[in-house]
């Protein structure tokens, strides 16, 4: 983090110099128009993501960094529908499309059309594999592994784990689970005794955990994917079982529950997920590409971690019922780009 801070300062100074002196590298983007193509809006994470976009986009338009930052969401979460949406954006003459894709491969054709028409495409969260697009990805496998590493520090003697998975068939679910299993292979004192799909929703996780619990031996820890920790805790409570160490996923209700448990019995855990604000990072990356900055095609964004020490601070900053968030600035984007070079 320290190094990236230094780079960040260096990069922002460079940019200031660039804008004042116009050193020939970065061009003015005040006339450029950026669109967000989003495939789904039906959960709190996506809502927070859209809000981050709106905040950063309207500020950027007001400051004259770009001339438009419009957000479009498809209604049915279908790749075909989103492909049509991208084609419309090309016709509307957007200079860049920031994309959270319904499928990593099914949109490649439309993305290629956009590239051929001279439109910059930056995908994030739900990334696309088309080589002409930029990708801002999270190392989900590392996130899964970190959960088990954390459990190993808190529960050195090991024990039985319950794994809550996400939505079956989705890339992110496979990646996080892969990381978790790598972690378990490394820390052989742990054993995954059960696995259910929670679909990243508290009520689904609650239901499926309640269904599998009667057949499980004592569970010391639960590894999750985010949006499922509170429901899991409720299911353990309803079954009259002791609450295991549940790794959480930054949702406000999860953190509020954590703070409650901590105050009552000193509960300690870790919470981690991607910040919905990654949309704002993608916005600035697109702006940098339009400005002529050389940006590597694959960028990695760190996940947002909440620890025992930062819990109160993060909880206070998160709106009730929402997700812990950070909004990325131009400087953050430049730091991420510099890191990838």
């Amino acid at each position: 983090m320290k190094i990236s801070k230094v780079l960040l300062c260096a990069a922002s100074l460079g940019l200031l110099a660039g804008t004042v002196q116009a050193d020939g590298q970065l061009s003015d983007t005040s006339g450029k128009r950026i669109a967000l193509s989003n495939n789904y809006a039906g959960n709190s994470w996506r809502q927070a993501m859209l809000q981050s976009w709106e905040e950063i986009g309207s500020a950027a338009v007001a400051d004259g960094a770009v001339s438009a930052a419009d957000a479009y969401t498809t209604s049915e979460n279908q790749a075909t529908e989103q492909a049509a949406q991208i084609q419309n954006m090309i016709l509307q003459g957007y200079d860049a499309i920031v994309l959270n894709a319904a499928s990593p491969t099914a949109l490649n054709g439309a993305v290629k059309e956009a590239c051929d028409a001279g439109v910059t495409v930056v995908s994030f969260d739900g990334i696309v594999t088309e080589p002409c697009a930029w990708r801002i990805a999270v190392d989900f496998a590392a996130m899964g592994k970190e959960e088990v590493d954390f459990l190993a520090t808190r529960l050195p003697e090991g024990g039985n784990l319950l794994e809550i998975r996400g939505l079956a068939g989705v890339f992110v679910d496979d990646e996080i689970s892969k990381g978790i299993h790598e972690g378990v292979a490394e820390h052989s004192q742990f054993k995954i005794v059960g696995s259910v799909h929670g679909d990243w929703a508290q009520d689904v996780a609650q239901k499926n955990v309640a269904g599998i619990l009667p057949s499980l031996p004592d569970v010391v820890g639960v590894v999750t994917q985010g949006g499922d920790g509170y429901g899991t805790a409720q299911a353990f409570k309803a079954a009259g079982r002791p609450t295991p160490l549940i790794v959480l996923g930054n949702r406000q209700d999860e953190m509020a529950w954590w703070a409650e448990q901590r105050d009552a019995n000193g509960y300690e855990t870790l919470s981690l997920s991607i910040a919905p604000g990654v949309a704002s990072l993608a916005f600035w990356v697109a702006q940098q590409v339009l400005a002529g900055e050389e940006v590597p095609k694959d960028l990695t964004v760190p996940f947002l971690k909440v620890t025992q020490d930062t819990l109160d601070e993060t909880l206070a900053a998160t709106p009730v019922g929402s997700v812990a968030n950070v909004t990325y600035t131009l400087e953050d984007a430049q730091a991420v780009i510099a890191d990838a070079k």
Binding site: N43, S44, S75, G194, Q202, K207, S215, Q234
Partner: protein, 311 residues
């Protein structure tokens, strides 16, 4: 009379078999826990399933695909007006039921006034309801008032409160269907709409009441589910679209309409929960689980419907 000729026997039998197969794994440990969980979560599927059963009974082409959106919208608005304040539970319930009533009325208006097929009308309307839910609260999860949360997760005589609500509703629906003129009208309309109309059944009123009932049930289910799981989420209804139709079919009601089966809906709701629990307990992966669930459902539907032919 041969007990196997009752179509609802099959869903209850399947639920019992799956229950004991799960317990075989644990050598009998956790039986009470599993039954309690099945009653809790089965109640939500049963409530929306009862509504869907009434609509499907109306005859071919009748189905309500807006159940998930009605659940989400009712729950979102109810939890928003309650705002976690103690003493607002009944007001919240009223709002949830009123929103459900409203969505049902809107669905029927689209079907009747615009002559849209119910599948199209309810699917299109559900996009509107879902958008209103998103717009009204931006997906924020508001906690239910404490006494409501206690009620939704609590129990009475060892049975979950939500299951009591589901059972009471099932009894009420059964009485209406079997003992009231309205129930007879509904069955007559489902068996032959034209014949029913000629016989003097107020067919359109029956259809209107049915579409309003299903949406009101969805509102109730959404209210209870949100109170049970600690808040309304925008995607909370998603799995109840298929579940509501599956419990009707597995429960032995005729998909062609004109024949409904109340006890079967509850048996099927328990079965749907237990089969997923069993496959999870045996460690089946998501793919295997979905395939097996599909095969088992098809098997039960075939078993239940062939027996009915022999009746």
């Amino acid at each position: 009379m041969n007990p196997l000729s009752k179509p609802w026997i099959w869903s209850w039998g399947a639920a019992a078999i799956v229950f004991f197969l799960t317990l075989a794994l644990t050598s009998g440990r956790g039986a009470g826990e599993l039954a309690y969980a099945a009653l809790s979560f089965g109640a939500f599927a049963a409530i929306v399933g009862l509504g869907q059963m009434l609509v499907i009974t109306l005859g071919p082409g009748n189905v309500d695909l807006s159940i998930p959106a009605s659940m989400t919208l009712s729950a979102t608005l109810a939890l928003k007006v309650m705002g976690s304040e103690p003493g607002t539970a009944f007001f919240g319930l009223f709002v949830a039921l009123a929103v459900g009533f409203g969505t049902g009325l809107a669905n029927y208006a689209l079907i009747f006034l615009l002559r849209l097929p119910p599948i199209i009308a309810t699917l299109a309307a559900s996009l509107i309801y879902q958008s209103i839910a998103i717009w009204s609260n931006r997906g924020l999860r508001i906690k239910p008032p404490p006494e409501l949360a206690d009620f939704a997760t609590g129990r009475m005589f060892g049975v979950p409160n939500v299951a009591w609500v589901g059972i009471a509703l099932a009894v009420a629906v059964w009485i209406v269907l079997e003992k009231s003129a309205w129930g007879r009208w509904l069955l007559a309309s489902g068996q032959n709409l034209r014949a029913a109309r000629l016989a003097g059944v107020p067919v359109e009123s029956v259809r209107a009441a049915t579409y309003i009932s299903v949406a009101t049930f969805a509102g109730l289910a959404g209210y209870l589910l949100a109170s049970f799981s600690g808040g309304a989420a925008l995607n909370m209804g998603a799995e109840y679209l298929l579940a509501s139709i599956a419990v009707v079919v597995i429960g032995g009601s005729s998909i062609a309409g004109g024949n409904s089966n109340v006890p079967g809906v509850w048996g099927a709701a328990l079965f749907m929960f237990l089969v997923v629990s069993m496959l999870n307990s045996y460690g089946a992966g998501a793919g295997v689980r979905n395939v097996l669930t599909g095969i088992i459902i098809i098997g039960i539907v075939i078993a239940a419907s062939t027996k009915r032919v022999r009746l």
